[in-house]
Every structure is written in C-alpha cells, then in structure tokens.
Symmetry: C2
Subunit: 165 residues, 2 copies
C-alpha cells in the first residue's frame, strides 16, 4: 500500500529526500513562496533521516558545509519559513524538527516517536483527528492547530511484537 508507514520500515531513503525536496519546490512555486538555497539546504538536512533534528544540530552541519560561520537566527529563520509552509513539523517535547511527508494538504502534527532509536513516524488517522475534533467541540473549543506526540517503542525496537505476535 502506498500510504504505509515508512519511517519504521526499510526503505530507500534517498527517495524520501528527493520526494520531499521536489514537493517543497513545487508547493513553494505554486504559493509564490521562495524556497531559497539556504532554506532548501536546511530542509535537506532535516530530511537526512526520520529522526527529529535540533536547531543547533542543523546549525553545526550548516557551519561544517559553509565557509563562513553560521549564527542561530540563520537557522531559526529557515525553520520558521519551513514551518509556515508546513514543510516541517516541530516536536515540542524534543525541541526538534522533522520533515513532513505530505506537505501538500494541511494536517495536524501527529507523531509516533521511538524512545529507543529516535525515529519518528507521522500518523494520519481519521479516527484520531475526528475524535480530537469531537472532544474539542464538545468543550466549546475551536481548534486551530494540534500536536500529538506519542512516545514508546517502534516495531524494530519492541522486544516481542515482531516475532511473537
């Protein structure tokens, strides 16, 4: 199935990167937003893995690639842009950032985060979204954004699930 979970499965990761960069380029063009070389570089760094990446880890890698020193605002401004364009999500519990695999349609930030290997997988469950929306409505609350961070063990890092089940 084409919407299968990916982060926790074996896959050719270079496709993730190229797909994400292509999608970002297309979307920004459509929106009249400027995906500058710097912003693209930051997005690519974030997509180097499925593990949320901290701003200063990005900064260090940028600095390593650049000839001039790089300062925090450079990174944070790129992150702000990517967040605005919904090309990345912020994982609040980790102060870290991760690429959005489906930036073309807006959606909430719902992630499974492995405590062991650090990988994150975005989930898209109508049932989760609907139940959250319903609970909020019942409280008279108007939802504007939401963030779900589920911590635990991914299939690869679960001791039993893979073979016993």
């Amino acid at each position: 199935m084409d919407t299968a979970p990916l982060a926790f499965s074996r896959h050719n990761h270079s496709h993730c990167v190229s797909d994400a960069l292509d999608a970002a380029t297309t979307l920004c063009t459509e929106r009249g937003a400027r995906l500058t070389p710097l912003r693209k570089q930051v997005l690519e760094l974030i997509w180097q893995s499925h593990k949320p990446l901290g701003a200063y880890a990005i900064l260090d890698q940028l600095a390593a690639q650049a000839t001039k020193p790089v300062a925090p605002p450079t990174v944070y401004r790129a992150l702000d842009f990517l967040l605005e364009q919904k090309l990345i999500h912020r994982i609040g519990a980790l102060n870290a950032y991760i690429g959005c695999p489906h930036p073309d349609h807006h959606h909430a930030s719902h992630f499974l985060l492995c405590d062991d290997c650090g990988r994150a997988e975005e989930i898209h469950s109508k049932s989760v979204s609907r139940s959250i929306q319903k609970a909020a409505s019942e409280a008279g609350f108007t939802v504007q954004s939401q963030s779900l961070e589920v911590f635990g063990l991914c299939p690869d890092c679960s001791p039993q699930d893979k073979h016993d089940a």
Copy 2:
C-alpha cells in the same frame, strides 16, 4: 455533572487549589513520596490559575516569597518530582507546567489550550485515547506515554460559539 470541564467555566478556584493540594498530600502519603514544603509550594504556585506556568515564572514567585535567592535547580527538582508523581503535566509547546486535576489515576496528557486567554483544560476522552492507541498498535508501535496539545479558542474567547450557536 461532576466531571464537567472546569478551566473554561466560572468556578470557585480556591476549591481547585485545595482539592489539588489535598489529593497530592494523600497520594504522596500512600506512595511513601515526600511532598515537602518546597514541593507543595511549587504545586500551589502552579495551581494559582489554569494557565500553564513557566519554570522561571515559578522561580520569580518563589524568590519573591523567600528571603534567600532561589536558583533554577530548586525549581526544576520540584517540577521533576511533581511530574514523576503525575501531579502536574508539562506542556511541551509552551515550555510550561500545569496542575493535573486527576492525579489519582494515570493518564495521558491531553489538553485544550486557548491561544487568547492562555488557559488550559485537560480533556479525558476515551474515544481520543482509544483511537490513538489503535493507530499506534496498527503501526506496530508500543505506547509508553502521549501528549496531545490542541490549540485554538476556548468558549469564552470564541467570537461566535457562545451566543450564535
């Protein structure tokens, strides 16, 4: 109804505070955990409102009440204790802490957070919990903890809902 949403409704807040402190005292006694004066003081400060409170806001208020200067570790250690005992929750998106109204039974951290007035209300929806658990299971993921932060407008701060609906 006794399980009605509270934070977004008018209520006698002194009851929230005394209930929370009483519950904390009882639970800690049962568990053999020591709710020291400092920890109780921090818990009370957190319960001064239904708005998540930052560590340094707590620090400032502690310092104002104390004769000696207060240093960050004093606050963070108290927060760590309260978090361990599940007497408070941490709101990752805000780097802030809020009292748990039902510390007696463990549960995930699910909050509605008003962008306008800053108040937070904990929600307890079986439907939300179940759908999250189900989505995780289907991905082969073993849940250990979860945090849901829903931002938007509370009933008081919504322009229409209260009167038009």
